[in-house]
């Protein structure tokens, strides 16, 4: 029977030849992930379910990244619980401050996820790893706690929506713009309970960073997972980070899809999602005058080295507008170090930005960049729900690193082309 890549991975992990949409399966997990918000509940579940030892200390990954460096005593207590659990269970992959990064940037960077893997994480953006050709999905702490005991989870096989990207991208259009455009087209529940399969000739030209960004936001269309078929870029990325290669799977040409949608990149402008839903997207030319108080570049969506490079290209020689706060968050210590050695941090500081250690803080209104009532931010993060970055009366606009950096300089949301030309522009 012809199958999609999602169905093939699920079948392989359920120990059966084929699966079909709607089928309930019990599947083996290659990795079970939790963070400082979700792990404490998962650990309680683990103990209550009479768990004495995790199914495999190499396959349970704990990343304290949401309120870290600890924002207050309660956050410190949550992390302490995780630390003690990690020690007790002798977990290979517990990331203490200094090696800790934003989880969905960190795990691929460390080579912990491979093509063909099945990953569950007690974080909705676990779907990010679909960029590597893995099946990855977010679950609650209870499901995660149970998986820590058994190494298994139950799943319903989703139907798949195929999204085909063709054509050449316009200047400054990145993976973020493509996924915002797609969510604008599908709606925030357009892929509810389904798999999103990213496909088409234009994807070969996309960096892995762009693909991570797109898979990351599959959940913002309600999807269970977002997935790319592995190609040469995927394999090059994996080779640099892991001795293992994973399982290279592709959808069969005659696999069954719920629907197929086509997108022509030559007609897609940089996108901005207006409050308070990621589906409220507009092309940059239709944004109008939207003054901002804060700009944030970072998160599991756009805190990668490639994102910082783009931001630096835009910011070089410019100054952040008066009255605008620019916060830049390299997603992992490695990214931080690279950005430093490439001179990117220097550019950010000279432009008037501040550089945060790796953390999820501002993205979810945790700390390190909370908005006051009536304030407005443009951000490379993934959600612009009511109160997402602070006061329920504040607003978040979602965009790419390029648009966010340009807006920080302009003082209102705008395209890179609107920046004043610099007399001397040296290449980075």
């Amino acid at each position: 029977m012809s199958q999609t890549i999602t169905e093939k991975i699920l079948a392989a992990h359920a120990g059966v030849k084929t699966v079909h949409p709607g089928q309930l399966i019990e599947a083996r997990v290659d990795l079970a992930l939790a963070n400082d918000i979700t792990a404490p509940i998962a650990m309680e579940v683990f103990y209550k379910a009479s768990g004495k030892k995790v199914f495999d200390p190499k396959k349970v990954v704990l990343v304290p990244d949401h309120f870290v460096p600890n924002k207050d005593i309660a956050a410190a207590e949550q992390c302490r619980k995780m630390r003690l659990f990690a020690r007790e269970q002798k977990l290979t992959h517990f990331f203490e401050l200094g090696e800790m990064g934003v989880e969905h940037a960190l795990l691929p960077e460390k080579g912990l996820v491979l093509p063909g893997d099945l990953v569950i994480g007690a974080d909705s953006h676990t779907c990010t790893y679909g960029a590597l050709g893995a099946f990855a999905t977010g679950v609650g702490s209870t499901d995660l706690g149970a998986a820590m005991v058994t190494g298994q989870t139950w799943l319903k096989v989703p139907e798949t929506i195929k999204l085909v990207y063709r054509g050449r991208p316009r200047p400054w259009v990145s993976g973020k713009d493509l996924i915002l455009y797609t969510i604008g087209d599908l709606g925030v529940d357009g892929a509810r309970y389904q798999a999103m399969e990213f496909s088409g000739p234009a994807l070969a030209g996309l960096s892995m960073a762009d693909r991570f960004t797109m898979a990351n936001m599959a959940i913002e269309a309600g999807a269970k997972n977002g997935i790319f078929e592995p190609d040469d870029s995927t394999m090059a990325y994996v080779r640099e980070r892991s001795k293992k290669k994973g399982k290279i799977l592709h959808s069969d040409p005659d696999a069954q899809y719920r629907e197929t949608r086509y997108y022509d990149l030559s007609s897609i402008e940089p996108q901005v999602a207006f409050p308070h839903l990621p589906e409220n997207t507009r092309p940059i030319s239709k944004v109008g005058k939207v003054p901002i108080d804060q700009a944030v570049i970072g998160s599991c969506t756009n805190g990668r080295l490639e994102d910082l490079r783009i931001a630096a290209r835009v910011l070089k020689g410019h100054q952040v507008a008066k009255g605008v706060r620019l916060i830049i968050i390299p997603a992992t210590p490695w990214i931080y170090q690279q950005a430093m050695s490439e001179g990117l941090l220097d550019i950010f500081l000279k432009a008037g930005g501040v550089i945060s250690p790796p953390t999820c803080g501002p993205c979810l209104g945790g700390f390190m960049g909370i908005l006051a009532q009536g304030e407005r931010a443009i951000s490379t993060t993934n959600r612009n729900f009511v109160g997402r970055m602070g006061h329920p009366g504040s607003e978040v606009y979602l965009a790419s690193p390029a648009i966010t950096a340009a807006s920080a300089v302009l003082g209102s949301i705008g395209p890179v082309e609107a920046l004043p030309r610099l007399k001397k522009v040296r290449s980075l």
Partner: protein, 176 residues
């Protein structure tokens, strides 16, 4: 099981950040979480809710984060069940795991108003708006799922099963 209560009505895409904002997620204490339930949609919600009240909402209820704190907060605020047009995927799963009964009925979700008194029969899936005198049909909750909800969620349910049935001694109450 029947759930009877006054209705609090919300719109489409009520996300987990609205149900329980992340600023309160430095704890998993149900009481603390419950005291902030829905506060970004209605700051006085928790003060107004009576035990057993019902939330009715539109499409895609519970979208966003995988945080289980969301169904925990709803339950701890005193809400007996949630009726919506449909639910986001992760929330749907979390709600049952946490022992929060949820029902999908687009007709009920569109018709029922704040303040209506509603009775939901989990066994038959019948939703009755006593104020409007209208009935709606949702998918019933099968007995094994109802048992899980009555036990207070998946973990409590499994533990109860693992311990086996309560010992029955004639003329004497179980000491457990």
């Amino acid at each position: 099981m029947k759930y009877t209560g006054r209705v609090w009505k919300f719109g489409d895409h009520i996300d987990t950040d609205v149900i329980i904002p992340a600023r309160h997620l430095t704890t998993s204490d149900p009481k603390e979480l419950g005291s902030h339930c829905m506060e970004d949609a209605d700051p006085d919600f928790v003060k107004k809710v009576h035990k057993g009240d019902i939330i009715v909402a539109g499409r895609n209820f519970g979208s966003g984060s995988s945080r289980e704190h969301a169904p925990i907060a709803i339950k701890a605020a005193g809400i007996s069940c949630v009726i919506a047009e449909n639910f986001a995927r992760i929330f749907y799963r979390n709600a049952f795991n946490m022992g929060l009964p949820i029902f999908e009925s687009p007709e009920a979700a569109q018709t029922i108003k704040t303040g209506d008194v509603v009775v939901v029969n989990a066994e038959t899936g019948l939703i009755e708006d006593r104020t409007l005198k209208k009935k709606f049909q949702a998918e019933p909750i099968p007995p094994f799922m109802q048992e899980l909800i009555d036990d207070g969620g998946l973990v409590a349910h499994i533990n109860k099963k693992a311990q086996g049935p309560e010992p029955k001694v004639q003329g004497q109450k179980s000491k457990r």
